[in-house]
């Protein structure tokens, strides 16, 4: 089973890595992340602070875009063009196809984040700021955000069009970015009674993307507990796995 999944994942990786869409996104990402250096210079230069903050924020945005696009290209687009028929006529369960495609997109996200991290880390080092390795690590940790987006895109993508799954995924991504302010409102006791229960439920259901933000640590080297990192990573993987299971179940019974 694992061999089949990795075969699907590996050949999907080769296929998408060579695609124009992925390469264009990667180049755009490199320019965006690189632009943080210019903004840092324009803002008077705060010892590389703007480069790290803006660079990691842009890295997160590009990761989400890459994750969503590659997942949609790998599954939804293949269903729309009927490319999937040749593959699924093989003796493979549809769930293995979904997991294989997850591996494809996850590998692309990791490669991209490594590239962005090295670029950002290199820039901060060139600017004379310490912590280049931390920036690379923080950039790689953003990949968990990408994994969740892939899971969500696969979930929507197995039963709707490319456009609609992109819209749904982006909506959930944006809502997920708002969970930190929502948590602050909950902690301040802004909601009471039934509304508080509903808001708590919404907060729990939405992806907590702020868990994967290591910007402060990357900049200062302080305020990071290994336990928190492990918990965040575990949360990211579990959240992703839940969506992959749901995507597999949805794909299993649908007509192709």
């Amino acid at each position: 089973m694992m061999q089949r999944i990795f075969t699907i994942g590996w050949f999907g990786f080769l296929q998408l890595m060579r695609s124009r869409i992925y390469l264009n996104l990667l180049v755009a990402g490199v320019f965006l992340v690189g632009a943080s250096y210019v903004v840092d210079e324009l803002s008077g230069g705060l010892a590389g602070r703007v480069t790290v903050d803006l660079g990691l924020a842009l890295c997160s945005l590009v990761t989400a875009t890459l994750a969503g696009v590659t997942a949609i290209l790998g599954v939804t687009r293949q269903m729309e063009t009927k490319e999937i028929h040749l593959l699924l006529a093989r003796p493979i369960p549809r769930a293995e196809f979904v997991v294989g495609r997850f591996i494809t997109s996850a590998a692309l996200v990791l490669v991209s984040n490594l590239l962005f991290g090295c670029l950002l880390g290199g820039m901060t080092t060139l600017m004379g700021t310490e912590g280049g390795a931390r920036v690379v690590a923080a950039s790689l940790f953003v990949s968990f955000e990408g994994f969740i987006v892939i899971g969500i895109a696969l979930f929507f993508g197995v039963k709707s069009s490319s456009t609609m799954s992109a819209v749904f995924t982006m909506t959930l991504f944006l809502l997920g970015r708002l969970t930190l302010p929502l948590l602050e409102l909950i902690e301040k006791g802004k909601f009471t009674g039934a509304v508080a229960h509903v808001v708590n439920g919404v907060y729990t259901a939405l992806p907590h993307f702020f868990s994967f933000d290591l910007t402060d640590w990357a900049r200062t080297g302080k305020g990071l507990a290994l336990g928190d990192v492990a918990q965040a990573a575990g949360y990211g993987l579990l959240y992703t796995a839940a969506f992959i299971v749901l995507a597999s179940v949805r794909l299993e019974r649908r007509d192709l």
Binding site: Q3, R4, T7, I8, F11, L14, Q15, L16, R18, S19, T81, K82, E83, H85, L86, L87, L88, A89, R90, P91, I92, P93, R253, D255, L256
Partner: protein
């Protein structure tokens, strides 16, 4: 003989549009395909051929009725391991090469790397694409992609080949190649189920044919029997060795044509050709032969589909009144 593929009262209804309008794509298809045969599945565009085929590979779920391949559901892995499927318009990942695709499909078919490589090379040689095996499929013509897709279908050496329009997009040389490959597969004991619009291909390959129209099976039988039903009538070929014209009464017997000194009388359907031939002899003609004019599968297909459509139109008219 063992039945490898069996459809029983297969119905498929889909819902489309904002108001989820029901469309019945298949209306109770039943058929059996025997092991080792080449089974042709023919019909107009939109008749339901590809829809039926997608049920055979587990891509579509029946609304009602049953689909059995090798005695099991095509959704099962064990069954699909014995099937090779070629879609109507095979869409291949355009940034992979034929060799990479063969490696992918070989491994998914359960082959080890060495066997997959060996079979892949042999197949690329067979379809004359070995020298372009490392190029991305993106630069390939439709026909070349069709050949690559056929290689992918065959790499697992499946017992049952399900080919949806295998000749589409191919030039005459490519069509002959695919026909030859289908024959080779048949000679190796494989069962072939294929749909095609190219009726001469069906005639030259198939043992048995099913005809589909409007989601219904409107005819099935061995090709020999179907063609028997397509007799266009009889023709009497004769010489008229006299100077004066043939008797004008012959025009009532059929249609006279003359070509290179031979005259042919196409006998009207309601007349006995042998009796007419005797009459011609009695009138002084030198009758050479009495021929049965055989129709083609196309004649039969057109006739049977026209009859089906007329019947459906009549039913609709009765329903409206």
């Amino acid at each position: 003989m063992t039945v490898v593929l069996s459809l029983q009262d297969l119905h498929k209804t889909i819902r489309v549009g904002f108001f989820a309008k029901k469309i019945e794509l298949l209306k109770g298809i039943s058929l059996d395909v025997k092991q080792g045969s080449i089974f042709g599945y023919v019909g107009q565009n939109g008749a339901g051929k590809s829809t039926t085929i997608k049920h055979l590979i587990g891509a579509l779920w029946p609304t009602s009725g049953s689909v059995q391949v090798f005695g099991g559901s095509p959704a099962s892995r064990e069954v699909r391991a014995r099937i090779g499927y070629l879609p109507e318009f095979p869409r291949l990942p355009d940034t992979l090469s034929p060799r990479e695709l063969l490696r992918l499909h070989g491994r998914l078919a359960g082959l080890d790397a060495a066997t997959s490589e060996k079979r892949g090379e042999a197949l690329l040689e067979r379809v004359q694409l070995a020298d372009r095996g490392d190029e991305w499929v993106r630069g390939f013509s439709k026909g070349m992609q069709q050949k690559v897709a056929l290689c992918l279908t065959l790499i697992g050496e499946p017992e049952l080949l399900i080919l949806d329009e295998p000749m589409s997009g191919l030039d005459p040389v490519g069509r002959r190649l695919v026909r030859d490959i289908i024959r080779e597969q048949h000679e190796n004991g494989r069962t072939v189920f294929f749909s095609s619009h190219v009726l001469p291909d069906v005639e030259s390959l198939c043992d048995e044919v099913a005809i589909l129209s409007g989601g219904k099976k409107v005819g099935q039988g061995s090709l020999h029997k179907l063609l028997e039903n397509t007799q266009r009538g009889k023709e009497i070929v004769f010489r008229w060795p006299h100077d004066e014209a043939p008797p004008s009464t012959w025009n009532d017997l059929g249609t006279l044509t003359t070509h290179e000194g031979r005259t042919t009388l196409a006998v009207d359907d309601d007349r006995d050709a042998l009796a007419v031939a005797q009459q011609l002899r009695a009138d002084g003609a030198e009758v050479e032969e009495v021929l049965t004019v055989q129709g083609t599968l196309e004649d039969h297909l057109v006739r049977i589909i026209d009859a089906h459509q007329a019947e459906e139109a009549a039913q609709r008219a009765r329903g409206a009144s």
